[in-house]
Symmetry: C2
Amino acid sequence: MKKHNFYAGPSRLSDYTLKATAEAVIDFAGTGLSVMGISHRTAEFEDVMLSATEIVKELLDVPQGYSVLFLQGGASLQFCMAPFNLLENNATYINTGVWATGAIKEAKYFGDVIELASSADRNFCYIPKGWEKNVSKDTSYVHITSNNTIYGTQYKQDPDVPVYMVADMSSDLFSRPVDVAKYGLIYAGAQKNIGPSGATLVIVKDEILGKVSRPIPKILNYKTHIDGKSMYNTPPTVAVFACLKTLERYRQLGGVQAMKQRADSKAAMLYDEIDRNKMFQGTADFDDRSNMNICFVMTPDYKDLESKFNEFVGARNILGIKGHRSVGGFRASVYNAQREESVKALITAMKDFEKRHL
Amino acid sequence: MKKHNFYAGPSRLSDYTLKATAEAVIDFAGTGLSVMGISHRTAEFEDVMLSATEIVKELLDVPQGYSVLFLQGGASLQFCMAPFNLLENNATYINTGVWATGAIKEAKYFGDVIELASSADRNFCYIPKGWEKNVSKDTSYVHITSNNTIYGTQYKQDPDVPVYMVADMSSDLFSRPVDVAKYGLIYAGAQKNIGPSGATLVIVKDEILGKVSRPIPKILNYKTHIDGKSMYNTPPTVAVFACLKTLERYRQLGGVQAMKQRADSKAAMLYDEIDRNKMFQGTADFDDRSNMNICFVMTPDYKDLESKFNEFVGARNILGIKGHRSVGGFRASVYNAQREESVKALITAMKDFEKRHL
């Protein structure tokens, strides 16, 4: 029985990626060896790494002067590496939830953090506005979290600030065009829109590096990984392979512009049902609603039916829609690989549940 | 045609591991979801992590008071995390090659390094002896590299020192019993004897933590990962799954004592041929020869035939025996998953080459 996978991450990968990876685990690129059992220094694997890097540049239209890296450690290690490499006296952070807060905490080991704006006052259900004009020219960078998985909020455009931005784009990179030139550093754990957990994509502007006065351990220095072409130490081979396959698929489907249309369309279908159905309501402010993580709860009159709805959809093989404990209710993650068929199955379940209980 | 995989890492994994992983990439634990596409917070994946942790404790007879972690970043990140967490004023390092040197360089960011012994004088072809009695009781720890992949040397017993040891066991963990109680920290990149690249095994004695005066960023603090049961941030799910399968296989085969017998036997066969065959000679001192990485060169009279021998074995599907550039010649890696059949194929090739050229 086919499952409808709405997990927030690790999350659904396309059949194209899964089939190619399962095959490569047994026989990679016709070598007779597994992608998990072949040296990363072989021509075959070096080609995987190079191709993955090149396709990122192509899909996101990355300008000259930027390096693309596949590292390990997830966004959480980037919370630390970013200020280690970039924060001189202070950096400016916009707090939009648990992950932004995590990034802020790590940055405080390295200098002062200016928390210029926060949506903590309403449980992070919106993206703060109007703070751009207050950014100091003397701050090292402005850090944003472009999409907030837990609260279902998303920046709808790349902010304009007088310094470069650093962005955690773990949960919406490749779902829309990005004006990379505004960013000094973009990072993303792979496990939402890029591939399996265990790979971390980093896009860094070369000229911003080497400017802080603190010494940086070699493994935590972006320059090390640029010089080593993401192979300073052994890369996570099977994870990078699966990332390449996912990115190839995006190219086949028309790139990030096409991904955006698909994301807009899937999200609109589901938000329309949330807004129509009297038993449900969205939790994020309308203008800041995420196209990737769609958060909703039952309306006050039906609050006691939440666990029943969870069981109801479970019986229809709809998995992973329980909301994060800090928001409650439900969260449907509709990353690039999410099928329209699954979104429709969830909508049908909401309608059927309404018929039964309203 | 079956390949004989002698790569130094990533290296051969058993058919048991590969088959189970390829299946789980499509359908993991009967969930209908991929091991790469399911939340790490599901009961099914939590069971993988817990089982992998437990089996490590069982196989290595890990004493009470130690934590077992699966992290990311490879041994290279441990070169940094170990001193970050443990080095107060100084630490003592034994230099046995490129990887030990890498660990020393990272440690110097955090304090003084006492390089108490080194085999650099003879291109790291031996393990320094007799240094144990010179270890100060006031040093934070003694760091060793238990097996040196590039030079084919290996400690034959766990040293006795008056402080705890920190060991990079990337290339021989699970190939022999280890007296874990002598170590405060053992770490190993998975890609030799444990699984695919992208997972890093850490075994740490809880009571040695929290003693340094420097602040430690959260992601680099071992305590964070102990508290999070290796799930503080998203673990590399497919890599950990493949590690579990590899460790299960070791248990089926009789544990590390059985692994040692197999390693001794395979290594002895190949060293015997190296010692017998007039065209070849080993590069490591006899007493320090590694059972995992068997390094040899052509004897001076036949030096010019090295590239010919490489071609000769290549035609027989023997892959990955080119030696590291700093030693030259050949390196046959015979980790746990290496088949006796492949070792025999290499020996036969050496004999046939001798017949043709001697």
